[in-house]
């Protein structure tokens, strides 16, 4: 590769390298951004799904317990236990997956309270442990069941659902730092390109300047000089710093002019 060719090739390769590296860094940061976005969306979806599962289980258990205690339908015993088990299993999964387990403390406490109360109620067949059944058990147990539900169970149920909702909102707010990190990654994905763009503009301007002073201007001057020589037979000299092939061209033109002079005489 000759001088001028080499310089231009290296110049353009520099620009290509610049674009490549800035592109790579942006690509890396965009990959981080994409991964973080995916993680946040997945965490969000999972959190909503677990909270919904817990709310469903709690609601199902509540309905079953109403049938059992208020209406005296003992067939709801198994559904009541199954719902409670479902709630506990979901809570256990949430605890395993949670990054910050403190959000689940109040929920776990409310579930345990509900479990103890429900177990003790179901263990005595729907009759409160301290109440003695008598001959008019049906009417009285219905009344006692309603009263137990209203006085003891409902408050715990409300507390449990509030804890589930709190878990849902708390974990959503815990995603904020990750969203902040995502914002940083987005910034870092953009700035390399912008910075590279500025540097590239500077390099292109330099390339334009160097090509002008080393190639374009001398060739324009030589062209004009050659035109004058051919028209008026005036020998000319190209001033300025010439390099590589342009210098060779100038020297060859000088030789040609010298030869032309010799032929004339």
């Amino acid at each position: 590769m000759t001088g001028l060719h080499k310089r231009v090739t290296v110049g353009f390769l520099s620009i290509v390298c610049l674009l490549f590296f800035s592109g790579m860094v942006s690509f890396l940061e965009l990959s981080h951004l994409s991964r973080d976005t995916g993680d946040i969306l997945e965490a969000n979806r999972r959190n909503i799904s677990l909270a919904k599962e817990m709310l469903d289980a709690a609601h199902e258990q509540n309905v079953a317990l109403i049938h059992y205690s208020v209406f005296g339908d003992r067939s709801y015993d198994s559904l009541c236990r199954a719902s409670l088990l479902r709630l506990e299993n979901t809570l256990s999964i949430a605890q395993q997956e949670a990054v910050d387990k403190s959000f689940l403390d109040s929920l776990a406490f409310a579930t345990t309270e509900l479990r103890l109360l429900t177990d003790s109620y179901l263990a005595f067949g729907g009759v409160e442990p301290h109440v003695e059944p008598d001959s008019v058990a049906v009417d009285r147990s219905e009344t006692a069941g309603s009263r137990w539900y209203n006085d003891e169970y409902e408050a715990l149920y409300v507390r449990l659902t509030a804890a589930i909702k709190n878990y849902m909102t708390s974990t959503q707010s815990s995603l904020a730092p990750r969203a902040e990190q995502m914002k940083k990654n987005a910034y870092r994905a953009v700035t390399p390109v912008l910075t590279s763009l500025v540097v590239m503009i500077a390099i292109v301007l330099m390339l334009y300047y160097f090509m002008s002073i080393y190639c374009v201007h001398p060739i324009v001057r030589m062209n004009k000089g050659l035109g004058d020589f051919l028209t008026f037979r005036i020998p000319f000299a190209v001033k300025g710093e010439l390099k590589d092939e342009v210098l060779e061209l100038k020297e060859k033109i000088d030789t040609l002019i010298a030869l032309s002079k010799q032929t004339q005489f």
Binding site: S14, C17, V25, R188, T195, V199, M206, Y209
Partner: protein
């Protein structure tokens, strides 16, 4: 003027900066590839490309004109500040475009003012880059080129004339090439000695290196939010007092003293004035603080007062106390120190004590001239008779310096910045001191100031670093013959 030749030498400076960026990226890599790794690596690549591009096209030149030398110095400094923003901008955090520019200019001009509220949250690689900017700036970007490129021949003198203050140049009695070697030798030696002493005083290696780089560049960048107050160690305070005082001396004097030459520290008139001022003002501040019950013991008041005064005079700007809480007398003395600053021939900024001495001698000569109109009165500094040109330049420089402070202050107040903050920030910026008073006190930073004021202060820093007229000439380059 050959712009291509200027671009070539500016390009070489860019390659040196790229080497430091790469070193910072290396530190980042070994620090568990922290978040600054990619920003530093990309910045190193961008700077390398910027630097290498002119080298592809322009060949080495044996001779440079004064105008070309000037353009290389100013161009290299400005472009260094621009590429210095790259890692900050790409990394993000507190660095907006204006903040990154301010931090970069502050580093390369060795001012040491910062816009960072939480320095300790920066990754190590970026912290090292921050210190590198100040260290590179300390010796002068172009000085590197002069030392490392032995092929430049007579070009050296052209560049050095612009790089060194004219007063500093007078004190060197060696060839230019030797001057550059002395500067670099003293600079590196002082950095190494400071680092070792700081390590022995209780800092870890990274902090010791960072603070040694900062102190020798007379910058004041620290790795801690509370600056030196974080370490709460009298031993570190004393090591830094001596290191700062040494960094504020003429490097040629340090060299002459270490090598046992005749024109050494003990024979220097400027050094006597310098140490006299440091001790006297430090003592007066201590008395003022002790009398006002700011400190329980006089020894503590003396250490704190001396530290803060030496820190501002040498334009380092480290802090061990919140000087906003000090007495008005102490604040006035500290402002005086920030104006006068240390000796010519050091990396410190400001008016320089040499100009203060010459001004006082000129006043005395003027009084004598009035009493004896026919007398021929010569003004000497360090035994050397000062020519008319040197004497004439002193009041011109001082007036321009004060005028720029006034413009900076007025501009700040226009932007609704309070008078004390505006005034002290302008003094701190043009003198490359760093901290001022008010909202930019020793325990505060420039983050809360308006963006336009940050820009005006970064311009003042450049004016101060390039000895005012160095930068002003750039605007009149077309008329320079």
């Amino acid at each position: 003027m050959r712009l291509d030749v200027v671009l070539r030498y500016v390009g070489i400076v860019m390659l040196f900066i790229a080497a430091f960026l790469l070193l910072s990226a290396g530190i980042s890599y070994f620090n568990n590839m922290d978040s600054a790794f990619y920003p530093l690596l990309l910045s190193a690549l961008l700077t390398t490309l910027l630097g290498i591009f002119p080298l592809i096209f322009v060949e080495r030149q044996e001779q440079l004109t004064t105008k070309e030398g000037f353009c290389i110095v100013v161009g290299a400094w400005l472009l260094a500040c621009v590429v210095g923003t790259f890692p900050y901008l790409i990394w993000g955090g507190e660095f907006s475009l204006i903040n990154a520019w301010f931090e970069s200019v502050s580093g390369f001009t060795t001012t040491g003012a910062t816009i960072l509220n939480d320095i300790e949250s920066l990754p190590r690689g970026l912290l090292f880059w921050r210190m590198s900017t100040t260290w590179i700036g300390g010796i002068g970007v172009v000085m590197f080129v002069l030392v490392i490129l032995p092929s430049m021949g007579r070009n050296k003198l052209t560049l050095t004339n612009l790089e060194l203050s004219s007063l500093a140049r007078d004190n060197y009695r060696y060839r230019t090439q030797t001057i550059v070697r002395i500067l670099l030798g003293v600079y590196v030696g002082l950095t190494a000695a400071s680092m070792l002493l700081l390590k022995l005083a209780g800092m870890n290696w990274f902090d010791a290196l960072s603070h040694a780089m900062s102190v020798c560049a007379t910058s004041g960048f620290s790795t801690k939010n509370a600056s030196i107050a974080y370490f709460n160690s009298p031993a570190i305070d004393w090591v830094l007092i001596f290191a700062m005082a040494a960094a504020g001396l003429h490097f040629g004097l340090i060299f002459a003293t270490v090598t046992g030459r005749r024109n050494n520290l003990f024979r220097s008139e400027v050094a006597r004035w310098y140490f006299g001022m440091l001790f006297l003002c430090g003592f007066l501040i201590a008395v003022s603080l002790f009398a006002a019950d700011r400190y329980p013991a006089f020894s503590v008041a003396f250490r704190e007062g001396l530290f803060q005064f030496v820190s501002l005079v040498t334009t380092v700007g480290f802090a061990t106390a919140d000087t906003n809480q000090w007495t008005s007398f102490a604040i006035v003395l500290l402002l005086f120190g920030s104006l006068v600053c240390a000796c010519a021939g050091s990396t410190s900024g400001g008016l320089k004590i040499n100009r203060l001495i010459l001004s006082l001698k000129m006043i005395r000569a003027r009084l004598s001239q009035q009493q004896h109109p026919n007398a021929i009165i010569r003004i000497r500094l360090d035994g050397a008779i000062q020519d008319r040109e040197a004497l004439h330049s002193v009041p011109v420089f001082i007036v321009t310096y004060l005028l720029l402070i006034l413009i900076g202050t007025v501009f700040g107040t226009m932007l609704d910045v309070d008078l004390m903050t505006s005034f002290s920030a302008s003094i701190a910026s043009i003198g490359n001191v760093g901290p001022g008073f008010g909202a930019v006190g020793s325990m505060d930073n420039f983050s809360a100031l308006p963006a336009a004021f940050k820009l005006s202060n970064s311009l003042l820093m450049l004016f101060g670093r390039l000895e005012i007229f160095g930068l002003i000439q750039l605007f009149f380059i077309k008329w320079w013959r």
